[in-house]
Assembly symmetry: C2
Homo-oligomer: 258 residues x 2
């Protein structure tokens, strides 16, 4: 099996610009026609910018909770206020970051980011990123006639690792998880609980080419990936904190009924 990752350079994408048009142009200029089954990975930053999911910090009045967390994290209190508004729960604070729950994700700063955002602005995750991915997917399918999937990618953190790696924010048009339950392992035994999270593997693969700085490659076409293309929204990517092997034991330590 061969999988190909093709990074597409793009001119900067402004507020209100048509992302489908920007992608199709970038693919045309690079001489990369899409194929059925391709996954189009898109940096969340250009999704947020094009949709206007950015906030001017000078428009934000920090609450007293934000001021207090600002002292704890050394973050701008207006930026903290945005994070508090964007997050479903704040689980902890450390220098430079708030650890938050947003939707079903455990994410620093609720996805809000100052880097690669216009001076004085913070970019936010789009509302309902799966639906956003679905709309972009329908646009690209309409423009190209190809049955592709779309994946919105952010830089994420992994436990105890230095530096960021890629994480899926939202997607459409392919099954994010493949269950192996009922299949057999190399030695012929039936597998009872394993699933493969294709979506985050794809997001990390794309993030490898997107980089963290001024690369200017917000689009990565992933070709030949072992995914099942669908027409709809993803399902089954998340588990609740109490069922999570990784954070469950940390969050619910001393409270096993949680």
């Amino acid at each position: 099996m061969r999988v190909e990752l093709i990074a597409l350079r793009s001119r900067p994408i402004g507020r209100g610009e048509d992302l489908v048009e920007a992608f199709v142009s970038a693919a045309r200029e690079a001489g990369v026609p899409l194929l059925d089954g391709d996954i189009v990975a898109i940096s969340v930053k250009v999704v947020s910018t094009s949709m206007g999911a950015v906030r001017r910090l000078s428009d934000v009045s920090p609450s007293s909770a934000a001021a207090s967390l600002s002292a704890e994290t050394s973050l701008d209190p207006r930026f903290v206020e945005l994070i508090l508004r964007e997050s479903d729960a704040v689980l902890g604070a450390c220098r430079g970051s708030l650890l938050t729950l947003k939707g079903s994700q455990l994410v620093p700063n609720a996805g809000a980011d100052l880097k690669n955002s216009l001076e004085g602005f913070a970019s936010l995750w789009p509302r309902d990123p799966d639906l956003v991915a679905w709309r972009i997917m329908m646009g690209i399918r309409g423009a190209t006639g190809r049955r592709v999937g779309v994946l919105i990618v952010d830089s994420g953190l992994r436990p105890l690792r230095r530096g960021t790696s890629g994480v899926a924010v939202g997607s459409a048009g392919f099954n994010p998880v493949r269950s192996y339950v009922g299949l057999r392992d190399l030695y012929g035994r039936v597998i009872t609980m394993t699933s493969h999270n294709l979506e985050d593997d794809l997001a990390s693969a794309a993030h490898l080419l997107m980089g963290e700085g001024a690369e200017g490659t917000p689009f990565v076409v992933i070709r030949g990936a072992p995914v099942e293309i669908t027409d709809g929204l993803p399902a089954g990517r998340s588990i609740t904190p109490s069922r999570c092997f990784l954070v469950g034991p940390l969050i619910f330590r001393g409270d096993p009924g949680g």
Copy 2:
């Protein structure tokens, strides 16, 4: 930029078999000559098997601590005993898994695994996986004359996600982290703290093709990745729990001096 991922099928690899020879054969049979700059990603399972890093469960006598954690996790008490021996610290327990610290990694079950292991055996992570990767790298470089890197890959978990994605266990021959500190973002501002964890992005990309079942593709050649090839061991991939944005706030909640 284009990155290519090429999965190589391999016959089953037994205990004591020469992994370098197995890889070189697999590459030859697939008609995939290596190039300078390639990263050879290898499933930790075949590394463990070839090195004999497996234990027969019937040889293990569970301690009382293992028996107690067996009741809590529903895991075989002999398997729990192996996990206790393999881990530096146990941070939590839930059904089906112990959350452990091993070396500088936060990992379920200290890397021990029953799946895709011989009946009645558990496979363990190799001791000093970076050094193991370095030796394999030197072997492959010697056999092929190509200046490649080596990456040992396991299935890992991400917070609140269903299913596994790839994680780096050890590596050699390339810089695992690229710092962006001092570089500029898209808007020309100097970046003050971001790094890119290339190693885990590479591991996830490889894991996409390795799969979780009987795929029989323990080797993935990664071509064209934006990595800096070196001759030595990796450095700088880890941070301490107290400095980790993600688990620091969870582990040290209520103990900010931790």
